[in-house]
């Protein structure tokens, strides 16, 4: 649900978390994206960084230049622009995935957990269009939802110390992609040959908040060709 009023929570003496709603949902996330666009269009002196997320954004500021009271005042004034600006159209990105086998070490466990076949897991995962709610955890990692009901899966009890680059994984009602090798606790279903983060590109990530994602299944041969 969207809150009637913004909820401000201070994070130390130089940042404030602004919460717009109490849940992970397309509606709340859309509002975050819209308000983020409003702030970008109306730059405020003294802000160092804004980190948009599922249902909040974090404002990091230079306390020698601006204070909390000023930030709140500006935010409340900018609220009047909600509904009056055009937010950038999300792009749809199709992402190839080689599912299962050595590329998806948790595939069998996930299939057994839901008492369905591997084929059905793939059908479920590719049968939905996901929304990118936020990019976080590491550069380019997209948090996407929602998984179809029959695929919501708890995290692994013991996180892995190494998850290969490109791994496509799920946890609870979300799905994500590891842009670089990393430790992690999500259940790995497969791997994509696409690069999700390239520091030399602008923007540096393949996906941005708000984008729509459609997975499709490819074979190992195609995966290898794609990598080249």
């Amino acid at each position: 649900m969207l809150y009637d009023k913004f909820q401000y929570r201070i994070m130390g003496d130089r940042s404030v978390l602004v919460e717009l709603g109490d849940e992970i949902s397309p509606e709340v996330n859309r509002r975050v994206r819209e308000f983020y666009a409003i702030i970008l269009e109306n730059p405020i002196e003294g802000l160092l960084e804004i980190v948009p997320a599922y249902r909040s954004f974090l404002i990091i500021y230079n306390p020698l230049k601006i204070d909390l009271f000023m930030i709140k005042t500006k935010m409340e004034a900018l609220k009047k622009k909600i509904g009056k600006i055009k937010i950038p159209e999300p792009k749809t990105v199709e992402i190839p995935v080689v599912y299962g086998g050595k590329y998806g070490p948790d595939m069998e466990w996930v299939a057994q957990y839901h008492k369905i076949s591997i084929e059905q897991v793939i059908q479920l995962h590719t049968g939905t269009t996901y929304q990118v709610y936020m990019i976080g955890f590491m550069p380019g990692f997209p948090y996407m939802g929602e998984l179809p009901e029959g695929l919501a899966t708890p995290r692994r009890e013991t996180p892995r110390t190494v998850i290969p680059q490109g791994s496509v994984a799920i946890a609870q009602t979300q799905t994500g992609i590891y842009p670089a090798e990393s430790p992690g606790g999500w259940q790995i279903l497969g791997r994509t040959p696409l690069k999700l983060f390239n520091p030399l590109h602008s923007p540096p990530t393949l996906l941005e908040m708000g984008d729509l994602v459609q997975f499709f299944s490819i074979g190992e041969e195609v995966f290898k060709q794609w990598q080249q």
Binding site: G12, S15, E23, V51, I60, G136, F137, F197
Partner: protein, 323 residues
């Protein structure tokens, strides 16, 4: 601008990376700030050799780095005392001095703190990647192609010669922070302090926490009395942006101070270290003892102004020095 070969790495030590004041404005892409953990020491090191405050320096962790000068260059070493030696003599820290061609500089142990900063006059020649020269190790970009310094690396500098004139500049003794092994960190409660029990907040402020060896540039992990969340709240929260200094408490009730290599997180945070104390986080090492002390926002702002005042006093002192 001419860049010339200036420094050769003889041994790299366990972790030496290039860092500047960090990378801002890319949080929406999941890009963390990175940058020097002890920004105060980095700024001082740069000012001593006549650089801009934000120039990239070597951040040396614990011990082991040994370098050789390939030409005369002004340098300064600040931050933790890692027993720096100039050839075979102890080297003075927090001053600008000249390494002559062929001289070596080595870091031989940990006497106080755990990270030293080495600046060179003119600055290391490195490309900016996503707005900064800082190394992001986990995603492998920035600094030296996103990797730590290794044996045989040769660093180039921008026109080091004019900076030789900075020789002898010193940072006033009374402005240099003292690094011990017991730390008092000032914090402000929030953003999720209300989701912890009253007792937990008292425990948090009245206990001593010991720093674990698993600490790195992502976070300082600690062990001590358990900080309990309220019984009706879930272990994790909906992921949100985080800043260095935020103290998250996962399900096991042991606090972790977030450092510079992450930008979002899904654990609740009981409190956040004030900006003025952030540079100290870079000097806290495994085995050290940490105690948290709650302060008001007003006090926190006063403390930031004090830090800036120290840097300003130093800069003014530089201007007053006779030519």
């Amino acid at each position: 601008m001419a860049a010339v070969e200036t420094i050769e790495v003889l041994t790299p030590g366990p972790l030496t990376t290039f860092q500047d004041l960090g990378r801002f404005g890319y949080g929406r892409y999941g890009v963390p700030p990175s940058g020097a953990l002890d920004t105060f020491s980095l700024r001082a090191a740069n000012l001593l050799v006549g650089n801009k405050e934000n120039e990239a320096c070597l951040e040396i962790t614990m011990f082991g780095l040994k370098i050789k000068a390939l030409r005369d260059v002004a340098i300064a070493v600040t931050g933790g005392d890692l027993l720096p030696f100039y050839n075979d003599k102890p080297l003075s820290m927090w001053v600008s001095l000249i390494l002559k061609e062929g001289d070596t500089l080595s870091f031989r142990g940990m006497k106080g703190g755990c990270r030293s900063y080495l600046s060179i006059g003119g600055g290391f020649f490195l490309p900016e990647v996503i707005g900064s020269r800082s190394t992001n190790l986990s995603s492998g970009f920035g600094g030296l192609d996103g990797r730590p310094v290794k044996k045989g690396d040769i660093f180039t500098a921008h026109l080091p010669e004019p900076h030789l004139e900075t020789e002898g500049r010193w940072f006033p003794q009374d402005l240099i922070p003292r690094y011990k092994s017991e730390w008092r960190l000032r914090v402000i409660f929030g953003p999720q302090d209300v989701q912890f029990t009253k007792k937990a907040k008292t425990t948090f402020c009245n206990s001593y926490y010991q720093v674990n060896p698993q600490s790195d540039r992502t976070g300082i992990r600690m062990t001590g009395p358990i900080i309990e969340r309220r019984p009706n709240v879930h272990e994790s929260i909906i992921s949100e942006g985080v800043i260095p200094g935020a103290i998250q408490v996962p399900g096991d009730g042991q606090p972790i101070i977030i450092l510079v290599e992450i930008v979002t997180g899904g654990y609740r945070k009981i409190a956040t270290v004030i900006t003025a104390d952030l540079p100290l986080l870079g000097q806290i090492k495994p085995g050290d003892i940490v105690k948290f002390e709650q302060v008001s926002l007003d006090k926190a702002y006063k403390a930031i102004r004090e830090i800036e005042e120290r840097i300003k006093r130093f800069k003014e002192g530089l201007l007053c020095r006779p030519p």
